[in-house]
Symmetry: C2
Subunit: 227 residues, 2 copies
Amino acid sequence: MHYEKPNVTVDVVLTTLIAGRLHVALKIREADEPPTEKGKWELTGGFIHTNEDGDDMAAAKRTLRAKLDFEPSYLEQSFTEANDHRDSRGWSASIVYLALHEPAGLQELVAARGLQLVDAEDDGAHLPANMAFDHKLLIAKAVEKLRAKARYSTLVAHFLPPQFLLSDLHEAFQAVRGKVVNPANFRKKILDEKVLVEMEERLFSKGRPGTGYYLAQPIAYFDRTIA
Amino acid sequence: MHYEKPNVTVDVVLTTLIAGRLHVALKIREADEPPTEKGKWELTGGFIHTNEDGDDMAAAKRTLRAKLDFEPSYLEQSFTEANDHRDSRGWSASIVYLALHEPAGLQELVAARGLQLVDAEDDGAHLPANMAFDHKLLIAKAVEKLRAKARYSTLVAHFLPPQFLLSDLHEAFQAVRGKVVNPANFRKKILDEKVLVEMEERLFSKGRPGTGYYLAQPIAYFDRTIA
DNA sequence: ACAATAGTGTCTGTTAGACAGTATTCA
DNA sequence: TGAATACTGTCTAACAGACACTATTGT
């Protein structure tokens, strides 16, 4: 018995945090195939290149590099969406990656490459109506996982520059979790977890300068939940 | 530009809990292709059948039904392992499913179908030396996710019959988490979460009969961690 | 009566959350 | 000096964890 092979792609849900709201990078689809999807908004992604991609992560990175000339601060496999109806060309599996980056860098990128950063809050209510394929669903699933993981890890630090104030991290946490946390308590908890490293120099913002911190590792997990 | 399509399979890490230790169902691989893998121990799985599988979950269920005539108590997508070296036949993506079931039913199945339930503890140290493909790695990853999820969900209840005593659930929790939890405190926490429904009748075991419980939903998540 | 397991009440130490207040910068 | 933000100390309520105790079955 012989079966057609599915198509296999990677798609990257590239997110950032602007004005306290999660945003996702989208661009207008230019490919002619399938004709129904041309001109709609899509995630960055593409087919696995079996002759050059060692694995799925490599495919995600190659795609980002080739299409955007970009490497995000954080990138991880999130889930796989695979069925017979997501692409009119036939059975298709998309390995979906979640990427996080700080807004300044992404805004630059977006300006240079003709992308848009779209508000992904409110269950996708502000996404364009004409989204390609099932990308609206992919975004919804990835964002939900992001919010969950933010609760017990340093994930959201990737929405900040490499060095940041605790108040910045605090703000990012609150925004992603949608909850207010007392600043003093946040400070105590996060420092207790020993996942941040103190900078030598002070970091200057609008008021009194504060201690700068950076992540000890790309991601660390807490024993307790933090917000 | 044209690229070969990867092969796409589903593999099911079918687990249970025996004598307080996680076990996984394995069978001897009979397929002739690739020759190097024949006669080794493997997970239940197979290629996506693009003409009959609506999606990846359907493919996992079909595989379990066709090869084992079995439907597990719990089944969910866990992660995808995709690279150019896991299968000598070429670029391959496996969508890995995690399945849980209670030991009695699984032991019956295993006896009838010539499978083995193998101890999956100690980082796979007790798995057979001759595991097919990268299935040892797939098991390690799936088991790690299982242990993590057990901490904040009712997942482990699927290692028990549909109706169970709190002491059974307590034992399962301890085994999977590898930690001792005070029975009284476990009782308080789990009942507080309101994820269990009381049975009408009492459930009889060795000593004093106790209140039987069953899951309100296939899986529920806790606000706090439980063990 | 005793073994075995189910289930309750309560004490104590730790943590979460709220909040008041001090410290250090720029304008 | 005042606005802005960083940071600390402390109080209280809630919760985790430990433990002693009672309850209900079979043998």
